[in-house]
């Protein structure tokens, strides 16, 4: 078993309280024709349910347009919920008033993909870090200074005094991303949502940022939702992995179980498509399905992967939407292939 892919402590899933609970979450975007007539909905997120525990990382993998960023943004409250509910600390988000939302948002940190785009170019490091505190009512100057020092120390932007007056363009890509993390941490959140936090960074910096996030998680018992298209980083960074396709979560698994054997044909294709540096790669062709992900305005009936799937069962996969089949205790796939294995 991989040494870095941590498994959950045994009692965790049942007894520990979930920080975040998502139930049957749908996010649809309305498409209008000529600005007035409703032309249909883009079903960007079409039914997602899961729980995220303190101190745990869930990786969400999938290709562009699979709904992984929509899921993150809906949890962050940037997108409206079409159907379903989100509970944070057992509190339903739909019942929150303005103050409640403020409290909720200060409990979740958001780490964006492009650090340079996420940082205001006209603000110094100091102001970037003060801003969330000003908005969220940490007004005591001494407390502000203490927190700024603490987060900068934690993200290893040292010496602190040198960095405080700098502007984002004076930092390297890795430093910018560390500043984004510092900003996400300055309100002492319980949960982080990291949307492709390392995809814009060079390989040697990537590992540094992931290890930094891991260290923060251990120190503060953070729950992390790690969204990525890069399968090769997830084994080092998460307890559980969810794969998404066409707006649905199609596979849920512990990292160890998934690495041993991906169940859903789509997840298996993602595995096949990921190359590890190996001279043998030169000699073999990759066995990956052709075609494109479906339109989310008119998704295919049944399983959304069936038009590209080689193991498609006629009369079943193209008709009925597969439910989640729990093949192992810690491993489920929404695929009809496993209907008899439960």
């Amino acid at each position: 078993m991989p040494s870095l892919a941590r498994t959950l402590p045994e009692e965790q899933p049942t007894q520990q309280k979930a920080v975040l609970r998502v139930e049957d979450l749908h996010t649809w975007f309305e498409v209008r024709r000529m600005g007035f007539f409703k032309a249909g909905d883009v079903r960007a997120l079409d039914g997602a349910s899961f729980e995220l525990y303190a101190g745990e990382t869930i990786s969400i993998v999938g290709e562009s347009g699979c709904g992984k960023s929509t899921l993150a943004k809906t949890i962050l409250g940037i997108n409206h919920i079409t159907k379903g509910s989100i509970f944070f600390d057992d509190e339903d988000l739909s019942t929150l008033d303005k103050e409640g939302w403020k409290r909720y948002r200060s409990n979740i940190g958001y780490i964006q993909q492009d650090p340079y785009g996420a940082l205001p170019p006209f603000m110094t490091v100091k102001r970037i870090l003060e801003e969330p505190m000003k908005i969220n009512g940490v007004r005591d100057k001494a407390e502000q200074t203490r927190r700024i020092r603490q987060v900068l120390e934690e993200v290893k932007l040292a010496p602190i005094e040198d960095f405080l007056p700098k502007f984002p363009h004076m930092l390297s890509g890795g430093q910018q991303q560390r500043l984004v993390i510092a900003r996400a941490m300055v309100l002492e959140p319980k949960m982080l949502i990291a949307d492709e936090p390392v995809s814009m960074l060079d390989a040697s910096v990537r590992v540094e940022i992931l290890q930094l996030l891991q260290a923060l998680q251990r120190r503060h018992n953070l729950a992390i939702l790690y969204i990525t298209h890069d399968l090769s980083t997830v084994r080092y960074f998460s307890e559980r992995i969810f794969a998404m396709y066409g707006g649905k979560i199609i596979e849920k698994s512990s990292t160890a179980a998934l690495l041993e054997q991906p169940l859903h044909p789509y997840t298996a294709a993602l595995f096949e498509a990921t190359s590890d540096p190996d001279a043998e790669n030169l000699k073999t062709f990759k066995d990956v399905p052709a075609g494109e992900p479906p339109s989310l305005m008119n998704p295919p009936p049944g399983c959304r992967f069936h038009p590209r799937c080689r193991k498609m069962i006629k009369g079943l996969c193209d008709v009925q939407i597969p439910p989640e089949f729990w093949v192992q205790e810690d491993h489920a796939a929404a695929c009809w292939l496993y209907k008899d294995e439960v």
Partner: protein, 330 residues
Amino acid sequence: MSTRDKKIVLDVQNLKLYFRTQAGPVQAVDDVSFQLRAGHTLAVVGESGCGKTSLAKAILRLLPRNISTYTGSIIFDGQDIMKYDDEKFRREIRWHNIASVPQASMNSLNPVIRIEDQLVEPLLIHERISRQQARTRVAEVFEIVGLPVDFLQRYPFELSGGMRQRAIIAMALASNPKLIVLDEPSSALDLLSQANLMNVLKRVKQQTDATFILITHDIGTASELADEIAVMYAGKMVEYSSAQYFYTDAHHPYSQKLMASVPTLREDKELEFIPGQPPSLINPPTGCRFAERCEKRFEKCSMQPDTTYLENGSTVQCWLFEETGEVKHA
């Protein structure tokens, strides 16, 4: 298969490309030498800003205006093309013999012109063949890259990103060039399209015996296609090695660190990162440019290392191998 009997198609010696800036010349490509044999694929890897794209531009002579130094020799197919004037280079080399697929070029197709007309155009200009012949040729290469021929009548927006990228590669293949430079051909694509594209390029490589230079930051993807790996760091080519040995047995301390930072899906390993940052290319250190971040540095590293030829045919620019390898002075 013997690699030594194939003809050397590209022989680059002491290539330098410096850009003029207000702060001083930027040494984007500094004294790079390598040889590439026909039918082989060279993957140039390195982090952003290491000069890999500048190297491609220097070979194709697609240069911006602020050039301060552009010297060295590029022997292509027996001819020193550095001596060609711009007009001769344009007529005889660019696109006709060396084609290129620049970064994000799938977005460079003209949205209001059908794919076929765009693919035919370079053939009419560079190959001087009739429109009908050009059409036939374009249909041929479309098949090689695995696109249905009727897609030629479509507009770019009707194709997905992966298909557009394949159309661009078809365009580069159409004039039957001896060398194709691919700059990050797959990094803007999704995982499955990326794998499909690599399959296509592999098939092209087998069917046409084309020579590729693949520029990428992703060593995993590079391993799909590369026969040779060149590692660039801060404008220098610090290692040039057969892909057969490189992934497991890289020599330069930077290459080793780079490999240690690549996450792998199938194998569990301790990931490392490289502390510090690459030096500025405006006033780079006089010695080895990696010395500052290198764990193995010693006194000699304050001098620029010579290129050392190792037993397995690799070359490396590092003083550590001075005794084990054979040093050839430039």
